[in-house]
């Protein structure tokens, strides 16, 4: 059973946004119910005039204060847990965040595969999506051209999205073939890139 069939996990809050995407910061590890999204995962910024659906196209972790780089700590071969044990102050000073590219928005109770009229507000909560929302987004993948603009990261995220959408569908193989056929039309002018994406989607070559 898919774990996201239940209550969707909370991932963070929007820290900056445009209509074509947003960045968000994740809550700290010890915040109850908070998690970090996976690369290529479908997420939803729930606050604002309309829920905004977006695909995670990057996940980053590093110092909260960009003027204070993390110093090298721990000798070669020392396990990470031991390094954390010796330097417990480091973890609270780190932040994890993610970037997401808009793939649709909700209006009148339906999910539309187009850009919203306005970006989600800063500090809007971001949660994971249900399998049903994932299926709705993938029903008509007209968001692909926007993802293509983000280059390699967009292609990799799209491949992950397709794999997940197929895996949660009642007919995984059929859904995989359908999605690849519809998405492939957008890559008609760049067969090399399309072949790369296909290998990412389906290393076994079924599609």
């Amino acid at each position: 059973m898919n774990e996201r069939m239940g209550e969707a996990p909370w991932y963070g809050r929007v820290t900056s946004a445009t209509v074509s995407g947003f960045t968000a910061e994740c809550w700290s590890e010890d915040t109850e119910g908070a998690r970090v999204p996976r690369f290529g995962e479908l997420v939803c910024a729930v606050d604002g005039p309309a829920p905004v659906y977006a695909l995670v196209t990057d996940v980053a972790t590093g110092p909260a204060d960009s003027t204070r780089p993390v110093q090298l700590r721990g000798a070669p071969g020392v396990p990470l847990e031991e390094v954390h044990r010796q330097h417990p102050h480091v973890l609270p000073l780190l932040r994890t965040g993610f970037s997401a590219t808009t793939v649709g928005h909700g209006r009148d109770g339906t999910l539309r595969p187009s850009l919203p009229g306005s970006p989600p507000p800063v500090l809007a909560g971001v949660r994971g999506c249900t399998d049903d929302e994932l299926a709705q987004v993938c029903r008509s993948p007209d968001f692909v051209p926007l993802l293509m603009l983000t280059g390699v990261l967009g292609d990799q995220a799209l491949a992950a999205l397709v794999r997940r959408a197929a895996a949660t569908h009642p007919d995984p193989s059929g859904e995989l073939v359908r999605l690849c056929r519809e998405i492939g039309a957008h890559y008609a002018g760049d067969p090399q890139r399309w072949m790369t994406l296909l290998r990412l989607v389906d290393p076994g070559g079924e599609a």
Binding site: R73, R85, Q86, H87, P88, H89, P92, L93
Partner: protein
């Protein structure tokens, strides 16, 4: 660039020669000071016996151990907590529409051992009340002190010490706790503000209900678990130990009447603006210089007491309240640091070793400066950006509602920075 470096450059050849000569002289003084510190005067009691009761304006150090004592740091305990605080403030600005000050205290709790953890936060307080911005004497209606400058700095230092007491009191478990502060343990610079008539309110606020009460609380915690509190002074500029060596080398000590063998600076045979005093021979100030040579990395000195402290000095007030302050030097590797602590903190078995072990480990982690203090500073610091955001917040939420008048012309010109 408004500074014409060419004008400065013209002075550099002479400066270089002067500095080279000064370096040679400093080296000779250091050698003489080291020879004195490691000779017969190093024996316990010998230095004080030699100096007696000098008549000098210098503060000087009374060693409680051998003058040249060297103690090696041990490993920290298997499980312990370091709590540290540091502060910063926004002083009242007479050009602003609202008179207020902000004190921000950064707090750090680092727990080491089986279940390591860290808590880093800050506590900010904004005061705009009249009685918080001005301290008035109850004895003299005309005696009042605006809370800014040294007084605000002292208030901040008190809040830092109180925050260490808060953290020590809140610490669970029964493992050792080391409390660290940055700078001097008690704010010596407050002396002019807390002495004399009309100052009793400031004295009550900062000393009796401030430093003393916080140290009382820490001592109460130390009565039920191992707690050591100390302040850490990086690149210390104090010279009490060197002053003691100077006094011990005073030629007046070896004479009979009229001075009866007393080091008496007003009767210095070679005193005066031209310099050349006999004691300059061992004048290797500051203390950190000889201790840099005496102590190997990872070693600490013995404990010293500061002597010849004015009766009205903050230190004397705190001592009379039961908290005499001692100090020691530690070679943490990149530098010699000074630790100041209430003497009671070192009276329990192993307390000095615990403090030294933790300070050395913290400094090693922090590339020469204790990592807990580094992080407390980072939590406390108020940047120019923060200050601008605070001004904007006050203007939007209070100023707009109350229709504050325009800010002063000088402040306005600084904000615009237009050509």
């Amino acid at each position: 660039m408004t500074l014409d470096l060419e004008q400065i450059a013209a002075h550099l050849p002479a400066l270089r020669e002067r500095q080279a000569e000064a370096a040679r002289e400093r080296q000779a003084r250091l050698q003489a000071a080291l020879a004195q510190a490691t000779g017969p005067l190093a024996e316990p009691g010998a230095l004080v016996a030699r100096i007696g009761e000098p008549r000098t304006s210098w503060s000087w150090a009374q060693p409680l151990d051998r003058l040249d004592a060297r103690c090696r740091s041990t490993a920290p305990p298997a499980r312990y907590t370091v709590v540290a605080t540091d502060g910063s403030h926004v002083a009242p600005d007479r050009h602003a529409s609202l008179a207020y000050y902000v004190v921000n205290v950064g707090r750090v709790r680092l727990h080491y051992g089986v279940e390591p953890s860290a808590t880093l936060d800050s506590v900010a307080v904004l005061e705009d009340r009249e009685d918080a911005l001005m301290v008035r004497s109850s004895a003299d209606a005309s005696a009042e002190e605006r809370v800014s400058g040294a007084l605000l700095g002292g208030l901040r230092a008190v809040r830092e010490l109180q925050a260490v007491a808060d953290l020590a009191e809140a610490e669970p478990g029964d493992w050792p706790v080391v409390g660290l502060l940055d700078g001097t343990l008690v704010p010596w610079a407050l002396a002019p503000l807390v002495s004399g008539t009309g100052r009793e309110e400031v004295r009550r606020m900062l000393i009796d209900e401030g430093v003393v009460q916080a140290l009382d609380r820490l001592r109460a915690v130390a009565a039920r678990r191992q707690v050591v509190v100390a302040s850490y002074i990086s690149n210390p500029n104090a010279s009490e130990v060197v002053h003691a060596l100077r006094l011990a080398s005073c030629p007046l000590l070896d004479r009979g009447s009229p001075t009866e063998g007393v080091a008496w600076c007003e009767r210095c045979p070679r005193g005066g603006p031209a310099g050349g005093r006999d004691c300059d021979r061992v004048g290797a100030e500051p203390d950190a210089r000889p201790f840099r040579r005496l102590l190997a990395p990872g070693e600490r000195s013995g404990v010293f007491l500061r002597r010849n402290v004015s009766r009205d000095a903050v230190e004397a007030l705190v001592e009379r309240a039961g908290h005499p302050v001692g100090f020691a030097y530690c070679n943490v590797g990149p530098e010699v640091a000074r630790l100041e602590f209430p003497l009671w903190a070192l009276q329990s078995g192993g307390a000095a070793d615990l403090l030294h072990a933790v300070v050395q480990d913290q400094a090693t982690q922090g590339a020469g400066y204790p990592v807990a203090l580094q992080e407390a500073h980072e939590q406390a610091v108020i940047t120019a950006h923060d200050r601008g955001a605070l001004d904007g917040l006050l203007e939007r939420t209070v100023g707009a509602a109350l229709g504050w008048g325009d800010v002063g012309a000088k402040r306005r010109s600084k904000l615009r920075r237009a050509v």
